[in-house]
Symmetry: C2
Subunit: 399 residues, 2 copies
């Protein structure tokens, strides 16, 4: 029997995607997925945009197109950075990708040799861990505090490292954001060490509290790449993301993209551009922000009511996730087995750690459940946690 | 300055894509691209399908979906293999990919360690060469004869090789097809050597002459993968392809696909499925076949009239390409420099060879030019070739 490549010999399916199969049962209240709320998808506007593009552009909307992406869409993205962040980005600095998951694959391909050190946040985004794992890095990870990474730990971790990957606003999975002060400090440390930097910003538009902050990328652009996506502000089914980068990095990313899928769907890019051109995007995003802000608040209130006091929970200012830390020694994987019996699901946190820790943590998604389900689900989960703790630490310890 | 990964340190942009930029000048008649004819794109039918999907499925057409792909589309593909080839394929044996270019990336990722031997056809498909090159194989190549590979050479090349990649019908770039006899012989050789086999079949539906033949995959399924695409029978702008595979191979491809882009566009998959469900696909494909058959015939007639007798040309029974072999010692790269001055373009063949040969060959695309352009372009190209030959071999030799 011929042998597979070493890079996938031990690869495993996404744990989250496997949990999602369990939660297909409609009686289970699921906080496990990372799905945007479909109630916020602009379906009639997308239908109008699709009709217009196919009527006006005709066959050219269905033909092969350039690897770099649809120019008017890249122009819109560049203008948006200027407007939101006063950040100068040229359309030619933007490469459209097939979702930002593809951006992770391309960056890993272009930067990471087997054995190179990649620095992750702790906890860190699972999709990035999976994309990088294929290219077999050596991992280091840096603990996240409430206002961003532990700077001393980051300084140590960056020493000799190839790449630092960070989700700086409303992080998946923790919901935490880097403060203005820590953004500046991270930029300084990246300059000090000369490390490649990959900043992922899928949720930046979804701030429902506090003051918008520009990405670290704005302060340290050399050797840096910034990712964005339309998945959370338009719809994820398009698979439309982008990379901001320049010079040699961009040149190599384009080459890798050509080899990976030639280009991202022409029609998808044109539909989303038409949707952006014909609608009030600010108003649309404000509706999503209000919705998620209300859902987050509902979940926080339910947690305050139903979770024991020794369970810690983050306080996100945006995004889609809350992060829960159970008392030391309690296993969220064991808790999940119980909670599925009580018809409520979440993602145990260990999968977000590259160092094998995090067993007493878990992720809760608040964007894709209605108010009633959030209240009822958190009530059930609170009861499960209490039962676990009441049974004594051994009952809910992992193997 | 931090260093890029070894796999892209020497990577280059697609030579064809660079040539395509030259041919943006509308006065240049281009046989360089590999584009399907947009006149054959079913634009109104796609518009109707898009409207229907968004109206009927609503938000679920825009949400994240499964990595494996949209089940009704996979069922359609499976049924099509049964109907066309009497081949049993289960929907679960089909993984939808973001164009078949992504399939090449995924297969390379899953199979090829740096230094593993990959066997290519000679000439071979450039997109595959690019996708595999990222994973740094050792190349071997096997000459193509009019009815398929040189079997003795293939037998030698497969010895100790990891993977054989082949386009068995109306190959890109040569237009050549494997005969029934050679298909059986190739299946035997693959069984003898136990090599992974990747059969790429983007053009199989586009046979305008002769008898349809089942893929080699039908005879040797173990360790084998078969690729297909909607790019040539619906439209390439969707980026919709697929891989047929089973067991452990499929399991690893799904894992690699999750890490590469989570899944292929939900809306694209649903639109194409709706188009297939609501229209007479046989009639649609027959129109494309007739169109390309007529264009091929026009090009062949013009070549017979205008090319010197010592230039050899293949006689394809389908697909989109003709392959030209100039007299030994004449460089197609040099010829291109002259022909661009005469406002006609093609792709020099050397890029399709992994062994540095093929300098006297070139590819002509006949699918994406109208009758008048084909006649005029071939006339111009014939004059260029004659001028080259008249100037003596030195004038058109490469450096």
């Amino acid at each position: 029997m011929p042998q597979f490549a070493d890079r996938v010999a031990k690869a495993q399916r996404s744990f989250i995607r496997e949990i999602l199969k369990v939660t297909a049962d409609p009686s289970v209240i699921s906080f496990a997925g990372g799905l945007p709320n479909p109630a916020a998808f602009p379906v009639p506007e997308i239908a109008a945009a699709a009709a217009k593009v196919l009527y006006e552009a005709g066959p050219s909307a269905l033909q092969y197109s350039t690897t770099e992406g649809f120019l008017p869409l890249r122009e819109w993205i560049a203008a948006r950075y200027k407007k939101r962040m006063d950040m100068d980005v040229k359309p030619s600095d933007i490469l459209i990708t097939t979702g930002s998951q593809q951006a992770l694959d391309l960056v890993a391909k272009v930067i990471v040799n087997a054995g190179d050190t990649v620095v992750m946040e702790k906890p860190g985004y699972l999709g990035a861990i999976q994309a990088f794992t294929i290219f077999r890095p050596a991992w280091r990870s840096v603990p996240l505090e409430d206002d961003g990474p532990d700077l001393d730990a980051l300084d140590r971790a960056l020493d000799g490292a190839k790449l630092f990957y960070a989700v700086t606003s409303f992080q998946n999975p923790s919901g935490l954001s880097y403060s203005e002060k820590k953004r500046a400090a991270v930029a300084d440390l990246l300059r000090k060490h000369g490390t490649f930097f990959l900043e992922d910003d899928p949720y930046g538009e979804l701030r429902f509290k506090g003051q918008a902050l520009p990405p670290v990328f704005k302060q340290r652009r050399e050797h840096s790449m910034l990712l964005g996506t339309f998945s959370k502000v338009a719809a994820p089914g398009f698979r439309l993301g982008w990379i901001v980068a320049t010079g040699d990095i961009m040149e190599r990313l384009v080459i890798a993209k050509q080899a990976a899928d030639l280009h991202t769907g022409s029609l998808d890019q044109m539909i989303v551009h038409q949707f952006l051109a014909d609608n009030d995007f600010e108003a649309h995003v404000a509706r999503i922000r209000d919705l998620y802000g209300a859902q987050c608040k509902t979940m926080q209130a339910a947690i305050a009511e139903h979770f024991p006091a020794n369970v810690r929970v983050t306080a996100p200012e945006g995004g889609m996730f809350l992060w829960v830390t159970l008392p030391e020694g309690v296993s969220a994987t064991e808790l999940l087995k119980r909670s599925v019996d009580c018809k409520v699901a979440f993602v145990p946190g260990a999968a977000f750690y590259v160092d094998g820790t995090g067993e007493n943590t878990l992720r809760l998604n608040f964007s894709n459940a209605d108010t009633e389900s959030i209240r009822e689900g958190i009530k059930r989960l609170g009861a499960c946690i209490k039962a676990c703790l009441a049974d004594g630490p051994k009952a809910c310890q992992g193997a």
